[in-house]
């Protein structure tokens, strides 16, 4: 049975288009409308079987919808919601798929409107972006955060969580602040380290890359992600990301000191601690 009559995807990239495909496939929504700022993406939407109507401005896309999902880069989520707020149906459920939550949730509180907003962060995606890589299986068995605050109606939180669950996700409700702390460590910091490692290696002899093995390739895969998206994510989660960098640096310094002092026991102990953690993932 459909949970929503009409879902609007604002920004149908990898996540938005995959979400529409998955929700249609599972019968969770009857109709899907979409808006993209890109004419090329709108043209592609018109030819898919998951999109029932595509609009060239976002206000048109949200009319008549009981679920609106904001799927644009994190910095444009709130401005976009502000732009469509007056056109939303009363009582509509609005959520997003942004990788950061505190700033978005705080800014949405300042908007006027009779919509109900619950922040979401489905931990799906890849270093590839855009609708061309979308597929209905993207969310299956992955983790999803929903980040209600005190003023969020319990029913809205429940409906949002049920929607992601119905897509096969493992949902965890969490405060936006706690969410941002966690993803700073398990997602943003690993990404940033991969980028820093690659940016550093880029300063070295280009021929070295011919000698790289599977280790370097795996370790740095995420560095291929879109710099524009990730610049926004790191910026929106700045305080937590800076804290995670400092925490990592402390461990890096202790390893550096142990190595420098030829303290084999401490080097071994740190490597063992890392292995135990990794083996448990």
């Amino acid at each position: 049975m459909a949970m929503f009559t009409q879902m609007t995807i604002l920004g149908p990239g990898l996540l938005g288009a995959s979400l529409a495909m998955a929700a249609k496939e599972r019968g969770l929504v009857k109709r899907v409308t979409a808006w993209s700022r890109s004419p090329a993406t709108r043209a592609k939407c018109a030819q898919t079987d998951w999109c029932d109507a595509v609009f060239d401005e976002p206000r048109g896309a949200v009319a008549g919808s009981d679920l609106v999902v904001l799927c644009t880069p994190v910095e444009t989520i709130v401005p976009l919601l502000e732009q469509v707020a007056a056109s939303l149906e009363p009582g509509v459920l609005v959520t997003d798929v942004g990788s950061t939550k505190s700033l978005i949730v705080r800014q949405v509180q300042g908007l006027d409107g009779s919509f109900s907003f619950v922040g979401s962060h489905p931990m799906a995606g890849s270093e590839r972006t855009g609708m061309d890589h979308a597929h209905a299986g993207l969310f299956k068995d992955a983790a999803c955060f929903v980040t209600p605050i005190d003023s969020t109606p319990a029913d809205s939180t429940k409906k949002t969580a049920a929607f992601w669950q119905a897509l096969g996700m493992v949902v965890t409700p969490l405060s936006p602040e706690r969410h941002d702390e966690i993803v700073a460590h398990i997602s943003h910091l690993p990404h940033l380290l991969a980028s820093v490692l690659c940016a550093y290696l880029a300063t070295k002899d280009p021929s070295w890359r011919n000698f790289s093995g599977g280790g370097l390739r795996d370790t740095t895969r995420v560095a291929s992600g879109d710099p524009a998206l990730w610049r926004q994510i790191l910026g929106q989660n700045r305080e937590e990301v800076l804290r995670s960098i400092d925490g990592l640096e402390a461990v890096l310094h202790s390893l550096r000191a142990a190595l420098s002092n030829d303290d084999a026991a401490s080097v071994h102990s740190l490597l063992q601690k890392g292995k135990t953690y990794r083996d448990g993932l």
Copy 2:
């Protein structure tokens, strides 16, 4: 046509056993003898079809061999060669598969014997170790360094390179020092960062690991490697590894500063630099 009549594998773990399998499969050696310090591994050797004779002490294994490959952890390569030196056939070619080269090559120069040593580093392997994971395809299309020095007979270098090439590897001759600088950056530093990241995350709430996605898993895969092996590798390549840590830290600090100053252009530029490098791997 066989390149060698009898090859000895000292330390048939993942690399040594895979090497014996591959060399036999391609007909590069007629016979293979092996020695392992582990009775369990010796018992396994006796049951494989790549091993013609297994010995419970290394001197026995090298008798009659025209190729000896040292496949133990890096710290034991030179002591082991010293132990068998007097038992080697005159003119035998000796090589190794160690991940570090300068210290090993320097120490081998101090040994007496009528053998000819050429350092090798086949860039194959994985976070899994031991003979049980060995397979004949391990070396195919991977990079391999050979590290002759001024006193190395040209013919020995040529034979060593030809052997790895015949196994399907892309061989690069390089000085031991240059080798160590390169692998410090493209192998040891990525490994160490993955270990440091995991050791840091291990200090956080254990439940966070439930939220990890493919990004964290890929980024940290190598941290599952054997701490005893990697402690030795980092120790033997200490100077270059310390230099690579310092170089990486400088880039990390510049990203931290850009993020802290809300300097979006610099953050974007660093992420873009990393992406360009990674896309080129």
